[in-house]
């Protein structure tokens, strides 16, 4: 019954694709039109002297600077250390978020004890933690990784905790009627049902990890993309600053796409 229906819709779909050959496939290119136009406008504004070159470099100058730093090898060290910080910070923050989110999602008592505290801590701006973390952990890698972990933690915790708490009562009743038992009903019903919430949390966590790494590197670092940025300010090199911003944009987008891809594969229902 359904098979015939599927083939029918399949036929209609391919017929449509035949009538409008490339429209949908190249649609994403439309998203590049505005940014490309902006780059052109940027170039013209600097070239015609509306913006002074010592405040805003020409687009090509930014590319040259990045290329030059890549050629000398200087760039890779900065990128590597930033990626490493984000990776370990996210790993730590997501792990702790999963543990606390699960515990508070499952146990009302844990939620009553922990949730009010964590809800208020999440409202503290990232920069406010920096002095304290420097005092406690020095200017080493530990302070930065921990600061990033704080950022990555909250979205994971909040989403997972509500995700587990909001698993459909209907499904929990099914587990109860069929006597799945506590462990099996968690493994087969509650946790799979909460996976979409967890992934939404991880996506948010990775985004915040990038925000927090900038905070950490701007203030206390001798290496990293954030350090490169503040170094650019000291040296009055706007090309380095803009280049660093672009690097953050690139890696931020890349990691978001990666998590999105995982999300698409894990939540395919």
């Amino acid at each position: 019954m359904a098979t015939t229906r599927e083939t029918e819709t399949g036929d209609v779909g391919s017929a449509l694709a035949g009538a409008l050959p490339d429209a949908d496939r190249f649609r994403w290119l439309l998203g590049l039109v505005v940014p490309a136009a902006l780059v052109v406008v940027w170039h013209l504004l600097v070239a015609t002297g509306v913006f002074a070159a010592h405040q805003l470099p020409q687009p090509l100058r930014v590319v040259e600077t990045l290329y030059g730093m890549a050629a000398t090898g200087e760039l890779w060290g900065h990128i590597a250390i930033t990626l490493q910080r984000v990776f370990f910070g996210t790993l730590l923050g997501v792990s702790v978020g999963i543990v606390l989110g699960t515990v508070t999602g499952l146990y009302g008592l844990a939620e009553d004890l922990l949730d009010p505290l964590l809800q208020s801590l999440k409202n503290i701006p990232s920069l406010a933690w920096v002095p304290l973390f420097l005092l406690w952990f020095g200017i080493g890698e530990g302070a930065k990784v921990l600061l990033i972990a704080v950022g990555a933690f909250f979205p994971v915790y909040l989403n997972l905790s509500t995700g587990i708490g909001n698993v459909s009562e209907d499904l929990i009743e099914v587990a109860e009627v069929y006597d799945l038992g506590r462990f099996e009903s968690l493994r087969r019903v509650v946790f799979p049902a909460a996976v979409p919430s967890l992934l939404v949390g991880i996506r948010g966590g990775v985004g915040l990890a990038w925000m927090f790494v900038v905070a950490a590197e701007l203030i206390a670092a001798s290496q990293g993309i954030g350090f490169l940025m503040s170094d650019g300010r000291v040296l009055a090199r706007p090309d380095i600053i803009v280049g660093s911003i672009l690097l953050f944009a690139f890696f931020g987008n890349l990691s978001d796409l990666a998590v999105k891809e995982v999300e698409k594969r894990a939540v395919d229902w």
């Binding site: 099914v174 069929y178 799979p192």
Partner: protein
Amino acid sequence: MPSTGEASKRDPAEATLGSEDPAADPALAVRGLTKRYGDTVALDEVDLAIDGGEFVAVVGPSGCGKSTLLRVLTGLEERFEGRAAVDGVDVRDGGSDAVGMVFQEPRLLAWADVRENIAVGLPADVDPDDPAARDRVDGLIETVGLDGFAESRPGELSGGMAQRVSLARGLAYEPEVLLLDEPFSALDQLTKYEQQDNLLDVWRERGATVALVTHDVEEAAYLADRVVVLGGQPGTVETVVDVEADRPRERTDEALLAARREITDALGV
């Protein structure tokens, strides 16, 4: 309650309800069951006894507490007045473990395929990955007419197909008492007839006790040994109709028509 009195006269098992010997208890015993939700009385002093191996249908208008009755018997409602017992064991003391339930809505796990969904119903001591268990699940998939859909997710199924998955899950449990809450309501007429006969086959083979809630008078008369007519708000037992037709039955049997008339009269239609 004159009508239930009449039922107990006909039903020798109910006379032994008060006896100390649990073996003499009917498979399913409900006495003076009153269930309130806040100020709303859903069930008022309901008496019902179902013998082992008996097939009983429960009909009644919307809101008469049919579904509530099943929820009490499956142990999903902890708080009620009166007695509800399965094989002499109170449903609140584990009596409900012997009860399987097919819910009105399919309540399937969206992320799991048909096979995995049906395996949720397998008894706790059966390993779903065991080849014998797998065969059993595949057999049930065939029974409910879903061959070829073992790997499909609920999102790919029609409403009627999802309902049959839910039915197969209930059968996988192999309960002593199987409760069904309008399990055929989303099926087209032909599939409905097919599934009704499947249910009768399973009932005969396993010797299970079945209680089926339905809106469909024709279905109730065709399937059941006895039809309990609930009425009004709050729900009370209006009357109990014996269906005197021999099995296997013809849908056009005169005795079924008589029973249908009697049920319809009791419903006050």
